[in-house]
């Protein structure tokens, strides 16, 4: 303890220099923690998004074919994507399939009174909620009966409900989608937990509105007309998505391959894609591993630079205090006393830098999250690891200067001016 106090008092003799030396470690440590937090946040978010797709799901999605292939077609109406036939075939033939959900997107505006927004309006089968693992906040989700009756009911995502009905409950209210009226029967939690992402609640409202699939098909049809600068552009898509919920995870690759084969056979063009969240998850984990290695290397380099800074300053200090070393040796200090003295100083330096770095490293992710709309996660290990490395840096880079000080000839050292 006394050695630490003495070390601190020596360091305080050169406040600016000690401070600047500490900065090297400080930035090293804080950047390590911040980078790890951002990486962890990004990785967790990616994995969460993939999980929300459902890790035991296989998603078939319609994709608009490239323009150049399209342009020579006679028809003004572009027809592509998944068909009702595909849907029926999937539903009937695959073993081990728990559920098949059809999704049709309706490109219409959603309005209530003077407020309007453009969320994704999805016509879905009632098992959609179950398959995607979404949770109701209030009310109920769509039922099979809604579908059979082609009822004009809808379920709002949380963001849409909050935007359209800021001061009253949305349940029971009527909203207008395109030219049709719908009654709100339920409100659903957003995909990502509230609070982790702060969106500007302006006109760019995200979120979703859900209708029964049959209602959507009947009221809005499959043909969508868009007015563009060059004229009209119509396209026809029977189904935008088919979500296949698989009973067992181990069957997922098999069903994914079967779907690919089936679609290759029945479609002339590649106007679809097959998304397998499980495969994405595995890939995301692999990406995370590589990312971590890269980060660790950057962390290593930044701390190496900090360590060299410490060594440089300590070598200067040793030269400057040669006389002091001589005095201490003459008065009975053994070599290990001198080594300890200088090591304590470097460890105090790097330790202070480490503590300050941990503090800054905890603040930076907060700032990034607030300003950059990015998710960050500080794990418990990151600050401990970074601080440990900073102290180790102090010891490793302090050893040589300390050893140089201790092996000085006392006679020479005393003569030093």
């Amino acid at each position: 303890m006394r050695a630490v106090r003495l070390g601190v008092s020596s360091l305080l003799l050169h406040k600016l220099r000690s401070f600047l030396t500490t900065l090297g470690v400080l930035f090293g440590v804080s950047s390590v923690i911040a980078m790890l937090a951002i990486a962890e946040g990004a990785s967790v978010e990616a994995q969460e998004q993939i999980r929300q797709l459902g890790s035991s799901n296989v998603i078939l999605r319609s994709v608009k074919p490239p323009e150049d292939k399209v342009s020579n077609q006679e028809s003004r109406v572009l027809s592509y994507g998944l068909t009702h036939e595909d849907y029926a075939r999937v539903a009937e033939t695959y073993p081990g399939v728990k559920d098949v959900v059809g999704v049709l997107e309706v490109p219409e505006e959603v309005r209530s009174g003077s407020l309007s927004c453009r969320p994704r309006v999805l016509s879905v089968d009632p098992s959609y909620r179950d398959v995607t693992g979404r949770i109701m906040m209030e009310g109920r989700f769509l039922t099979a009966r809604d579908g059979e009756a082609t009822a004009s009911v809808c379920v709002l995502g949380y963001e849409v409900a909050r935007y359209l009905f800021p001061f009253q409950p949305a349940i029971g209210e009527r909203i207008k989608i395109g030219a049709e009226y719908f009654q709100v029967v339920g409100v659903m939690y957003p995909r990502v937990p509230i609070g982790s992402i702060k969106r500007d609640p302006g006109t760019e409202v995200g979120g979703e509105v859900f209708l029964p699939l049959k209602t959507g098909q009947r009221l809005f049809g499959e043909r969508q007309v868009k007015i563009r600068s060059g004229g009209m552009d119509a396209q026809e898509v029977q189904l935008h998505e088919i979500i296949i919920a698989v009973e067992l995870d181990q069957d997922v690759p098999m069903i994914a391959n079967a779907s690919r084969l089936m679609l290759t056979g029945s479609h002339r063009e590649k106007d679809y894609e097959v998304i397998v969240p499980l495969e994405l998850l595995i890939r995301a984990q692999e990406t995370k591993r590589i990312f971590s290695i890269v980060l660790a290397s950057i962390a290593g380099i930044s701390l190496l630079v900090g360590g060299i800074g410490i060594m440089n300053v300590m070598l200067a200090t040793v030269t400057e205090r040669t006389r002091e070393i001589g005095i201490r040796r003459a008065l009975g200090a053994k070599r290990h006393h001198i080594v300890t003295q200088f090591l304590v100083e470097t460890v105090v330096l790097s330790g202070c830098g480490g503590v300050a770095g941990v503090v800054l490293g905890l603040i930076i992710p907060e700032i990034v999250e607030a300003a950059g709309d990015m998710r960050t996660i500080v794990t418990l290990e990151a600050p401990i690891f970074a601080f440990g490395i900073s102290v180790a840096t102090g010891v490793i880079f302090g050893l040589y200067p300390a050893w140089r000080a201790a092996t000085m000839d006392p006679v020479e050292a005393l003569r030093h001016e």
Partner: protein, 253 residues
């Protein structure tokens, strides 16, 4: 590089009343045929050449000689921060050549007290901490050593400045701190290297008074000086010339 002849010793004139403990006492330091040779390239420089003498407890010695006469080399060897190239040096019967670096450090911290021309206090420590410095490096410092430090500070007239830093003290006061520091371990031998060299004559006189008092208390003191005025106050004057012993004068009365 020829050393100038030393000033004529001023007979047997004693500047202070002789009260040093005379007679046969324990031998504190003993040199037998000590040489110190520096090799500078191909050339060998004999800083000390075959020196033999010994001195006993309670004696007050002055080593005199012009610059280059080997005074500093002798002091370094006596202070155990340098080793003889040839010959043997014993402190209280212990041969220095048999000790390793750590044991030598231990010996310095227990048996020797150093007083330097430029005081050599540690700037970041206060007066009391500086006085206690040699104790810092002992394995088992004795009980109440801090109290002893306070008493010694009092003894050299700095009892009210314990928390001052060296930079806040005058040269004479700094040298007093250094003297207190050299006494903290009750050493067998106090070595002073031109202790008054940086001081004005009045302050130097006060420091020399302090040495006289310590001598009167029975401490063993060896001072190195080139000033006859300083050397004359010692019991014995050892004159060096070109690294060799020129003579030992008994200055006692």
């Amino acid at each position: 590089m020829s050393a100038l002849p030393d000033e004529e010793p001023s007979g047997g004139v004693s500047v202070h009343p002789g009260q040093g403990s005379a007679g046969d006492t324990e031998t504190v330091a003993q040199l037998e045929g000590v040489s110190r040779v520096y090799s500078m390239g191909a050339e060998e420089v004999h800083a000390l050449d075959d020196l033999s003498f010994s001195f006993g407890s309670g004696e007050y010695w002055a080593v005199m000689g012009s610059s280059g006469s080997g005074k500093s080399t002798l002091l370094n060897i006596l202070g155990c921060i340098d080793r003889p190239t040839r010959g043997e040096y014993r402190v209280r019967g212990q041969a220095v050549s048999e000790l390793d670096d750590d044991e030598l450090s231990e010996l310095r911290s227990k048996e020797l007290g150093f007083i330097f021309q430029s005081y050599n206090l540690i700037p970041q420590l206060n007066v009391l901490e500086n006085i206690l410095m040699p104790v810092l490096y002992q394995e088992n410092p004795e009980e109440g050593i801090e109290e002893r430090g306070r008493v010694l500070a009092e003894r050299v007239g700095l009892g009210d400045r314990l928390t001052h830093r060296p930079a806040e003290l005058s040269g004479g006061q700094q040298q007093r701190v250094a003297i207190a520091r050299s006494l903290i371990n009750d050493p067998a031998l106090i070595l002073a290297d031109e202790a008054t060299g940086n001081l004005d004559s009045k302050t130097a006189g006060e420091i020399l008074e302090l040495f006289d008092e310590l001598h009167a208390e029975g401490k063993t003191i060896l001072i190195v000086t080139h000033e006859p005025r300083v050397g004359e106050r010692a019991d014995r004057i050892l004159r060096l010339k070109d690294g060799a012993l020129e003579g030992i004068e008994d200055n006692r009365r």
